[in-house]
Each structure stands twice: as structure tokens, then as C-alpha cells.
């Protein structure tokens, strides 16, 4: 009997915590769909605000998607060979470099952005283009690609597999493309989802680096909160959620896949 009571208490507490966290999300989403938030749901549901957001901020959404995909491409192209290099290099060096790579994650984004502005801000063309923001995003997300790839590489017995491939006549590039890359796919996948999610949601660095013509979704979001009706800000949030939640689910799924694999 007492175990049953204890179970019910625990269940109640868990539900309460969940509610505490979920209610604001639901409220915000609903706010974006109600005619008038201050009147409440009885004013009726509408897609007007979503539509308004699309009219006002479609550019930011496209830019965020473009940035995320570009960032993904760059981090895969840099991160996978970098992880491989770390795998092959001496342990001591590898650890030092891995830690150095984490710096942009540990240092506040504003500081990273300021450093970028000081160093490259005077190249006007570059500074005004979205590529400037891309550099910031790559700096920030690269370790999230390298780490899972490296950890999968470390468990995959790659040196052995490469030796076998070499004995069959495979040169370096063939080994890299047919043995190394396919055997750390689960790490690349996990890293890719992480990179895309972080890039889409990144605010600190982007806010410092953006220009009126290079606004991303989170920057637009801050903008709308500050200057628009509450319903528009909420509708905007809703769009953001619709983009990011499937990615988060996919991250969980990829994580499980990686664990199963080894």
C-alpha cells in the first residue's frame, strides 16, 4: 500500500514539473494562433499572425536555413578530416587541440563575435555578407561535429580496418572514403543534427554580427518581441518550434542509433 502511495506521489510530482515546463510553450504557441491574446481563446483561432510573420520575416527564415545547411557542409568537410587527424595524432596533442576547439563554446558568444569583428570587420564586403555570420556559426558548432565523430572513430577499430583495406590495394583517399567515412556515419549523423540545431538557434554571435540585411530567425525573433504585437512574436516562436522540434527528435533517434551500433 505504501509503495503505491509513494508511486502516486512521484507520478504527481513528475506531472507537475512537466506541466510547469510545457504550459508556457503551449500558451506561447496558442497565443500565436489566437485572434486577440488579451481577450483569450474565445476571440477565435486564426492563421493571420503566422501569415503576417511570413510576410515580414520570411527572409530571416530562409537565411537561417541557408546558414544551417552551409554550416553543416563546412563542419562536415572540416570536422571529419579534423577528427581523423586527431585520431591519428599523439594523444597529448589531440587532447590539447580538442580542448582548444571547445573555447568558442565556453567563451560567451558576444566575445567571440567581437573578436571576429575586430579581426575581419574592416573587410567590408565580407563583413556585410551572410558568410561573416557563417564563420561565427562554424566556430561555434565545429566541436559538436568533431566530438561525436572522434568518439565513434575511437571505438570503430579504424586502424585495423584501414590496414586490411591497404593490404587489398586501397590508397589513402580510397580508404578514407570507403572505410573511414562510412564507419563513422553514426557519429557524422549525430554531429550533423547537433550542428543544424545549434546553427538555427544561435543568437549571441549572430546578433553581434548581423546587419539589417543579414538577419537570422532568432535575431528576427528578438526584433519582433521588441517591436511587434505579442501575437506576432508568438506566431514567430511557433514557426521556430515547428522547425526545431523535429530536429531535436531526430537527435535523440540518432543518439540511440549510435549507441546500438557499438
Amino acid at each position: 500500500m505504501t509503495t503505491r502511495i509513494r508511486f502516486l506521489l512521484q507520478l504527481g510530482f513528475t506531472l507537475l514539473v512537466c506541466l510547469f515546463m510545457i504550459v508556457p510553450v503551449v500558451m506561447s504557441a496558442l497565443a500565436g494562433l489566437t485572434e486577440n491574446y488579451f481577450v483569450g481563446l474565445k476571440s477565435g483561432l486564426t492563421l493571420r499572425w503566422v501569415n503576417d510573420v511570413w510576410q515580414l520575416y520570411a527572409d530571416t527564415i530562409w537565411l537561417s536555413i541557408r546558414l544551417a545547411l552551409a554550416c553543416l557542409t563546412v563542419t562536415v568537410l572540416l570536422g571529419v578530416p579534423a577528427a581523423y587527424g586527431l585520431l591519428r595524432s599523439r594523444r597529448r596533442w589531440a587532447n590539447a587541440i580538442e580542448e582548444a576547439l571547445l573555447l568558442p563554446v565556453a567563451v560567451p558568444g558576444l566575445a567571440t563575435a567581437l573578436a571576429l569583428l575586430l579581426a575581419y570587420g574592416h573587410y567590408r564586403e565580407f563583413r556585410d555578407s551572410w558568410l561573416f555570420i557563417l564563420v561565427g556559426h562554424v566556430l561555434f558548432t565545429l566541436p559538436f561535429m568533431i566530438r561525436p565523430v572522434l568518439s565513434v572513430m575511437r571505438t570503430a577499430r579504424l586502424p585495423q580496418l584501414e590496414e586490411a583495406a591497404a593490404s587489398l590495394g586501397a590508397g589513402f583517399w580510397r580508404r578514407f572514403l570507403t572505410v573511414v567515412v562510412p564507419n563513422c556515419m553514426s557519429g557524422i549523423l549525430a554531429g550533423a543534427l547537433m550542428v543544424v540545431t545549434l546553427s538555427i538557434g544561435e543568437f549571441n554571435i549572430t546578433w553581434m554580427l548581423h546587419t539589417p540585411l543579414t538577419k537570422t530567425l532568432p535575431v528576427g525573433l528578438a526584433d519582433s518581441y521588441a517591436s511587434m504585437r505579442l501575437e506576432i512574436g508568438s506566431a514567430y516562436t511557433l514557426i521556430f518550434l515547428v522547425m526545431i522540434v523535429p530536429l531535436l527528435v531526430a537527435i535523440q533517434w540518432a543518439g540511440r542509433l549510435t549507441v546500438q551500433h557499438h
Binding site: A156, R157, E163, S167, L168, G169, T178, N183
Partner: protein
């Protein structure tokens, strides 16, 4: 099949960056089509030697590796035409069985029909028909090693290299696969180097065996030579069981006094100790025995039993007796050892020298 090639190592040593000398400079010739087994305890340098032959490791400066007449010292492994089979299979987990086997053939840019035909052919050779579409992780250890073998021979290499390929398998499977590998090596008539720490495997597979000890070749010879005429106490001990009898006195006409009695061994006079194998000692009635002792333990081995006999020396004498005989602990046992089965490693060396001179 590509015609097989001889392998020559000249002064090949290997000292690692940490200063550890895994291999002292050694010379070794392996004839075309021969199977050479590198045998020795863990850490004696077998893998290092194999990796130098394969090209995965370079010998220290001054060392040379030749395949036939060709110096391949500077060639990386992918240009050496060697097939390798590793202890832990090293199969590509991202490919099916057939794709694993076809990997090297695709690199050779053979036409697709020929690749398919060759894959089928080698899968039949290793008894894996119908497994082509299987995933690697859906195979047993024995099947994995067959795939690895098939993958290595599919490209028709000049040399096949094995690094303890059976060490991860259980005993029954190990025996079966050992026999199959032996048959395959004979069929292919390919030059092969086979690393193992298992003496039974070495004797079954090797045309010759190189027994290694601490980075050196302790003895190189046919299995019979290694077993019956070991060149050192280490080799004698490593290959099978051996008794060392201390000679505590000598009598005229080559009679040697040992603990428990006297032996006839005119060819061994003057040596401080003599050696013999447990299976060469005969059990006889005590009244005609050369040596007597007392059974202190019997270890049942299946096809035979090994008796530990106390003759008064510091270590008991090991004697093989028929499996069905019953020996009680404490029972007195009579033994004789014919002179021709008695040996001494140093004596084996000088005999060999004499033979070599005679042949030379």
C-alpha cells in the same frame, strides 16, 4: 593464380620510438610457395616481423625486404600484393560479405561479371556459399574468419600473411579451420607466413617453423627438426613438454648416472644434463628398469595420461602412459629411456653443423 614469390629479409630489425627493440636485425629467406610459421610467446616480435614483410612497418635503417629479386623495402603495403588475415578479422562492417570480398577486386577495376564470378569462386573455397548478402555482424567468429580469408585470396596476392587468425576461436572450430587453411595453402601453392603462439598449429601448418624468442629467431627448421632436435632449452621447452635430467656422475662405456638410476647415452658423455620427451620414456617391470621412481600424480589428457614421477631430483619426471592404465599415487614405477631419444640442445647444434658440412 599469380605465381608465388620468395621472400628475403636482410638485417631487418625494429626499434620503436620509445627505445624498445622489438626485433634484432635478422636474416630470413622464405622459398616461393613455402609456408613459414613464426612461433613464439607473446611479445617476442612475431607481429613486428610480419608487419615488416607486409609493409605496414618499416625495418630500421639498413634492413631490406625482397620479394623475389625485387627490393620492396620502400613500397607501401598497398603496392606489395599481400593478403592479410588478422586475429580480429578486420572485416568492413559497413559492407556485406560479398562486398567485403569484392573490395580488392573493385580496386583492380575488374569487370563486374568477373568480380561476381571470383567472389562466388572464393566463397565456395571457404565453404560460404549463399552467405554473400549477409551482414558482417550476423556471422559467427568462424564464418567471419572465413570471409577474411576469402577476401585475402580473392585478389590473388603473391604472399599470404596470417597474424594469429585462429586465436579468437574456440578449440573445436580452431582445429577445423586450421585443417582447412592448411588444405587451402597447399592448393594455392602460395608463399605464406603464419604467426601463432600455438605449437600444435605451428607443427600442423608449417613447412618450416621459426621459433622466436625476445626479438630473435631461436631456431629455424622443419617441424620434425624443431621437435626432435631443438637447438636450445627454450625451444625444447616451448615445443611440447620436455624432461631435463641432471647428470650426477658418469661410468665407463657411456653410462650416465641420473637421479633414480643409470642411463646409456654414449653420445652425451661429458654434458651436465640430458633431455628427453615424456612420450619417449618406456614403462617396464621394475626388475629390468634403468630408472625407478614413485608416481606422485597422474594427469589425464584423453588420448594419454601424463605421470609425474619422483626420482629424487628437484623436478619430477614427466612420463606418458597409455590412457587406460591405472596408476596409483605412491606406486613404484620402472622406466627405461633408449639412448636414441636422449638429446641435448648443444649436441643438436653440433650434429646439425656436421650435417651441414657434409651436405655443403
Amino acid at each position: 593464380m599469380t605465381s608465388s614469390v620468395s621472400i628475403t629479409l636482410e638485417r631487418c630489425g625494429r626499434t620503436f620510438a620509445n627505445g624498445h627493440t622489438a626485433l634484432h636485425p635478422l636474416d630470413l629467406s622464405i622459398a616461393a610457395g613455402e609456408t613459414l610459421v613464426l612461433l613464439g610467446p607473446s611479445g617476442c616480435g612475431k607481429t613486428t616481423t610480419l608487419r615488416i614483410i607486409s609493409g605496414l612497418e618499416s625495418p630500421d635503417a639498413g634492413g631490406r625486404v625482397r620479394f623475389g629479386e625485387r627490393d620492396v623495402t620502400q613500397r607501401p603495403i598497398e603496392k606489395r600484393d599481400v593478403g592479410m588475415v588478422f586475429q580480429n578479422y578486420a572485416l568492413f562492417p559497413n559492407m556485406s560479405v560479398a562486398d567485403n570480398i569484392a573490395y580488392g577486386l573493385k580496386i583492380q577495376r575488374l569487370p563486374a561479371t568477373e568480380i561476381r564470378q571470383r567472389v562466388d569462386e572464393v566463397m565456395a573455397m571457404v565453404d560460404l556459399q549463399g552467405f554473400g548478402e549477409r551482414r558482417i555482424d550476423a556471422l559467427s567468429g568462424g564464418q567471419k574468419q572465413r570471409v577474411a580469408l576469402a577476401r585475402a585470396i580473392a585478389v590473388r596476392p603473391k604472399v599470404l600473411l596470417f597474424d594469429e587468425p585462429l586465436a579468437a576461436l574456440d578449440a573445436k572450430l580452431r582445429d577445423r579451420l586450421r585443417i582447412e587453411i592448411g588444405q587451402l595453402l597447399r592448393e594455392l601453392n602460395i608463399t605464406a607466413v603464419y604467426v601463432t603462439h600455438d605449437q600444435a598449429e605451428a607443427m600442423a601448418l608449417g613447412d618450416r617453423i621459426a621459433v622466436m624468442q625476445a626479438g630473435r629467431i631461436a631456431q629455424l627448421g622443419t617441424p620434425q627438426e624443431i621437435y626432435h632436435r631443438p637447438s636450445s632449452a627454450f625451444v625444447a621447452d616451448f615445443i611440447g613438454a620436455v624432461n631435463r635430467l641432471e647428470v650426477i656422475g658418469s661410468r665407463p662405456q657411456g653410462r650416465l648416472v641420473v637421479h633414480g638410476g643409470e642411463l646409456h647415452g654414449p653420445h652425451l658423455s661429458g654434458l651436465p644434463s640430458i633431455y628427453c620427451r615424456p612420450e619417449d620414456i618406456q614403462i617396464v617391470e621394475t626388475n629390468v628398469a634403468a630408472i625407478q621412481g614413485c608416481v606422485i600424480q597422474s594427469v589425464f589428457l584423453g588420448q594419454t595420461q601424463r605421470l609425474m614421477v619422483d626420482t629424487g631430483s628437484s623436478t619430477p619426471l614427466q612420463v606418458d602412459a597409455p590412457s587406460r592404465e591405472h596408476w596409483r599415487v605412491g606406486e613404484v614405477i620402472g622406466l627405461t629411456i633408449p639412448p636414441e631419444v636422449l638429446f641435448h640442445p648443444e649436441q643438436c647444434n653440433s650434429q646439425r653443423d656436421v650435417q651441414e658440412v657434409a651436405h655443403g
